[in-house]
């Protein structure tokens, strides 16, 4: 027993050492706010509306069909009447008119398709939703950028602040701090709203939370369904596990 303990201790010590060694040199810290996601239909519908009005002009969601929005409580007729701008059928994909090659000329980089953006933006700093929630709230005025906008979590971002009319205009105050390697690093001290938008801060945060909830839903529309089915699968397997265990014990008791 004591030998096994020794092995275990050695293992833990080594892994701890390796972890310490490795995390030491990880890149600049990315501080993300936890996204207060809400997956009720009202929030998702609000998010869908914001998405279609503010994002779908330049970004596509080309793996998602409009009629999938039935799953967040919209009828085909509602989709047709309120949301269908660029397509003619509710079964169509959420593509946009802009061609990728042209878009690349205008923005320097083609605006990425957003269908699975929430899944791709996950990292050890936080979920993809956290990243998006922080990103969409941390645009600030920067006259050095061609668009006049910059972003705290996505430096030198190519996209201008699409929802500035809602949030207003922010400026960022940075402080320089020692980075521990003899150099200096810029740290965000605070963001200040210098020109008010249509929404007060809390309302804007809520709107972004709804938008990010929708984008998260869109990344994997079957996620709710998946967990539901998963519960049943595990329940059946648990029952089967008990039965096969009893049967195994029953058959093996003949052996001696």
């Amino acid at each position: 027993m004591s030998f096994k303990n020794k092995i275990l201790r050695a293992l833990i010590a080594t892994v701890a050492f390796a972890t310490a060694a490795a995390t030491h040199a990880a890149g600049p810290e990315l501080r993300l706010d936890k996204a207060p996601l809400q997956f009720d239909n009202a929030s998702l519908q609000h998010g869908a509306k914001l998405f279609i009005n503010y994002c779908l002009n330049c970004h596509s969601a080309s793996y998602l069909r409009y009629n999938r929005l039935q799953e967040i409580g919209l009828s085909d007729q509602q989709i047709k009447d309120n949301l269908l701008f660029t397509a003619d059928k509710v079964g169509d994909l959420m593509t946009i008119g802009m061609r990728p090659a042209e878009a690349k000329q205008w923005f320097g980089a083609a605006p990425p398709d957003l269908t699975v953006i929430a899944r791709s933006r996950a990292s050890h700093y936080g979920s993809g939703a956290d990243w998006l929630y922080t990103y969409l709230r941390q645009f600030y005025r920067d006259t050095n950028r061609p668009t006049g906008w910059n972003n705290v979590v996505f430096e030198s971002v190519g996209m201008p602040h699409a929802m500035w009319d809602l949030q207003g205009e922010q400026v960022a105050h940075f402080v320089e701090r020692e980075d521990g390697h003899g150099g200096k690093a810029k740290h965000l001290e605070r963001l200040e709203i210098v020109k008010a938008g249509k929404m007060p801060k809390e309302e804007y945060d809520e709107a972004v939370a709804d938008l990010v909830s929708f984008i998260t839903w869109m990344g994997e529309p079957s996620q709710h369904n998946r967990k539901q089915i998963g519960g049943w699968v595990l329940a059946v397997l648990a029952v089967l596990g008990v039965l096969t265990y009893l049967l195994k014990r029953s058959i093996w008791k003949d052996l001696h």
Partner: protein, 462 residues
Amino acid sequence: MQKQAQQLLDWVDARFPLTFLWESQWGKYVAPKNFNFWYIFGSLAMLVLVIQIVTGIFLVMHYKPDASLNAAGVPVAFASVEYIMRDVPGGWIIRYLHSTGASAFFVVVYLHMFRGLMYGSYRKPRELVWLFGVAIFLCLMAEAFFGYLLPWGQMSFWGAQVIVNLFGAIPLIGEPLSIMIRGDYVVSDATLNRFFSFHVIAIPLVLIGLVAAHLTALHEVGSNNPDGVEIKKQPKDANGIPLDGIYSHPYYTIKDIFGAVVFLFVFAAVVFFMPEGGGYFLEFNNFIPADPLKTPPHIAPVWYFTPYYSILRATTSDFMLWLGIFVLVVGGLSVFSLRHQLAKLAAAGVTAVLLVAFYFLDAKFWGVVLMGVSVLLFALLPWLDRSPVKSIRYKGGLYKGILAVFVVCFVVLGYLGILPPTPVGTIVSQICSILYLGFFAFMPWYTAMDKTQPEPERVTWQ
């Protein structure tokens, strides 16, 4: 009714050895009765193979290996995966089963291999069982590598780019060889299509053949067990069956079914509740379509390759000196302990050639070699282990300690492989790489020195 069934069976048996195959391969295959928890992983590997083949067949019905861009500007292959995830009824379940199955395969196979290490399953007379197993492991790595390109995400693309470029490190033929593997100057549509072909038909065919060989060889020589004693050498009962042997059916049938259900419970928990496996089973960056002009800031292979990837990265030019010393020590020991004059000469020759080659060829090449060698070294185990006993139960503290160090090194290498390289991380992985190689290279000596306990006559059984 029963009589008619028997007649039908007789009719078949007269024309095809159905009953014979069933009885020799499973029904009346006599296995030791003292299998423990560790003996489930072989059956589980078979189960995962079936899951992968079945889900794979269905995925091929909807997936398109096409790197060209669709109207929305997304590669067709990438879009077809999302098509499966969204538009195909039941598609997401099938895809998650397959993507989780890939990781599950390696979990199960690594544990299966560790079982072999613990109980000496590779020792005589099971050398061929073991060699077929190593070949299966190689095939599995190839299969996983080819398959990982298919979603055509950023990790798919850059992972393939890096691995194919490894072949470029081979002197003289490297560059033309890597171009030939890709069928292009970069990883492209041609590469995607040939990898698809390898993944769905070429490698699986070989894999199934090897699995059949692995099982046939096993059922020929008989299974090892946690005590490492041969039940075939024991006294037999009136029917000629070893006293510690039992028929696989029904005993191991029901035990394996129970084990399979437990496995499926864990497997389903991942599939339905965390299919991304925290970014280790489905990497986050792979949700971005492949972009040949932009490498993601940090790329790492999928977790099951990272131990070997770490060994590759650890092989820097500084490391070559240590590797040289290591080879010199192993070579010297060999020359000293080999009995035949010719063998001594051969060992000295190989050592000298290696040292000269270390000096003249750059570290990049040796990293690739070392990575390959560290996988292939498993094949030599039957001839490296000199212990008088098979099972860890009767081996001494020396072997147990060294095996523990080996496992720790393997885990640490795997862990470091998923992180970006750091100076300290590189040193740690260099130490671990040397220890990993040492486990194999010094095995003939430490297994001979190890103080073992005598094996029992019969298997341990409560």
